[in-house]
């Protein structure tokens, strides 16, 4: 499971066989329900997700991935439980701090929402290859340029991280101090980030030339024979008219009753 394939685990479950956009819409539905509906629906959604995970034999994978939001969830519970503004009902007093009921309620609801959102997302990511997702989106009208950016960025992440550690070792062998006081560590920033940034920009130039030499971006763009003039003032007029239409609708709704 490398950086370029994301969280994806190969398999043949029901979820694996669904179309990526279907899964995406299902995820969106679960996310909106989690955050917009009252917290009472959370247990229902959780049970549904667990059943789905078990049916697709992903229970262990989901469980193992729960360590990722562990710190976040702990922080939500601790910070909200101990210091919730306006809380009055104290459950456990711990000297100057106290666990309050309102804080704990808020913390538990927030943490549950995050956990449900995370589980749904991780189920989606475990069963969807990013390449497939982007291919499906492009065939539905998303610009292929965006798909290119996402996929090549995902491939470049491990490459750039390797380059960053190479630069780090090279600079250290030339005497760069990377430990010690905050000032020393801060001064190491420019010698490390500088070569990385500049090297990446030169890399961009070479890649661009290589891509354009292979015809990337050569769309069948037609040159128009008739040119319609578009004075700059027109743009503001169009925006004003759009607002005007909205205003008229609002006024009609308000006045009409």
């Amino acid at each position: 499971m490398g950086s370029t394939t994301g969280y994806f685990r190969p398999g043949d479950s029901w979820l694996h066989r669904r179309h990526p956009v279907t899964k995406l819409l299902g995820l969106a539905w679960i996310l909106t329900a989690t955050f917009l509906l009252p917290p009472g629906v959370l247990p229902l959604i959780t049970v549904g997700l667990i059943l789905l995970a078990l049916r697709c034999r992903l229970g262990r994978a989901v469980g193992a991935s729960l360590r990722i939001p562990a710190v976040l969830v702990a922080s939500i519970l601790v910070v909200n439980g101990l210091v919730f503004p306006g809380a009055t009902t104290v459950l456990i007093g711990l000297g100057p701090l106290a666990v309050t009921r309102e804080g704990l309620e808020f913390g538990i609801v927030s943490a549950s929402r995050i956990l449900v959102a995370f589980t749904a997302s991780i189920l989606f990511l475990l069963t969807t290859l990013p390449d497939d997702l982007l291919e499906a989106l492009v065939s539905r009208g998303v610009s292929h340029r965006v798909a290119f950016v996402v996929l090549s960025a995902a491939q470049m992440v491990p490459r750039l991280q390797t380059r960053a550690s190479t630069i780090l070792e090279a600079q250290q062998s030339r005497g760069l101090v990377t430990t010690g006081s905050a000032g020393q560590r801060a001064r190491a920033l420019v010698p490390l980030v500088g070569p990385l940034l500049l090297g990446s920009l030169i890399d961009v130039r070479e890649r661009t030339l290589a891509l354009e030499a292979r015809g990337f971006g050569a769309l069948p763009r037609r040159t128009a024979y008739r040119l319609v003039a578009d004075p700059p003032a027109d743009r503001w007029l169009r925006i004003a008219f759009l607002f005007g239409i909205v205003g008229v609708l609002v006024a009609a709704v308000g006045v009409g009753r």
Binding site: Y7, L72, M156, V157, L160, T178, L198, S200, V204, E212
Partner: protein, 404 residues
Amino acid sequence: MDLSWLQTCPAGQTEGCIPAEQLLYLFVVVGIAVLVGVVAIRSREFSTATLVLMSVAIALNVAVGSLVVFLRLPIYLDSIGTVLVGVLAGPWAGALTGLLANLIWSILPIPGGGGPTIAFFAPVAGVIGLMAGFWASRGVFRLRADDERVGGFLALAAAVGAALVALLVVQQTIGLPDIGVEDEQQRLANQTQFVTIAIVIVLIGAVVGWLSGRTIFRFRPGEPRIATYLAAATALSAFALVFAILRLLFAPDGYFSTVDGSDPGFLGGADLTGLAFADPLGLVGALAIAAVVGYVAWVWASRGENARLFPVWVGGLTTGLVAAAISAPISAGVFGGVTGSGVDALVALYRTLGLSVFQSAFAQGLTSDPLDKTISYTLVYLILAAMPVTVRTMFGRGQTTLEA
């Protein structure tokens, strides 16, 4: 249809009106939708160089972020690539980079990343790229200390300063109307007055900015006045900032005057009212300290080319402020007001000081984001100064936004 509920709630009321925080959420959601729409339309015009730059910049965010973790510095620098794209390829490319970078962080199992849930912060990253592009088009990344476009930047600063002064004058003379009174009629009158005052202040700022841009800040290239004005602006800003903070804390009606020991939860019932120095001693003291800081800033800015960092820092600070403002509602609404990282200790601190969930999330953002973005801007500025000409000319904005 009865539309009387279409107004913001005064403090304490919850029925028949829209709570101010819900209005903020709605504003953020609408803003995000508009941003994504415009970016999607503009993305059709991106050149190949821009697209390649975007993908490299997204990977850069991850690489530099992990370098900073290795150096154990209290910043993120995980939007440095976004700023880079904003400077070289414009605001909309920067915004798209921010959005995509955040989405990629969420779908890739990057160690140290937050998992899929950080996708909720995508709008923040988008706005950072947008603002980087905006500031770059104002010439913030190009200015030498004797560049004539400093004038435009100084006029903008003068406009903001004039608006703030007008606000202070209004507050001290006729006073800002209270928009939270119970009486319906009075509240409506007060709200109208508030809006009128706000419009007048903005107009004053705009007029001062336009006038000063045409007169005292109209420079020819290479004038020695420019460096002096820039150094003066740096010194003045340092003075104003330090003075404002000192007054906010140590004035007779400042923060320390409210810590009178009646709250046993805060620092064990400490009474800090002794720190609220009475005027005129407190005022003179604050003025003196601020003057010293201003003078030091003047000396620093007058030396060599240091003054050209002032616009860069203004750009970074404002970007950090806006980023904090947009991430606060997301953090408060989705994540229960925390972020899951070390800064949550700050959030807990702000809560003990009495701030609400939303306010403490905002305060935490204000503490960490401006510094982080300012450092990102400075790094991009310093490093791009060394960029080879062959790379600079590949990007449409490379020549106009970067130092010649």
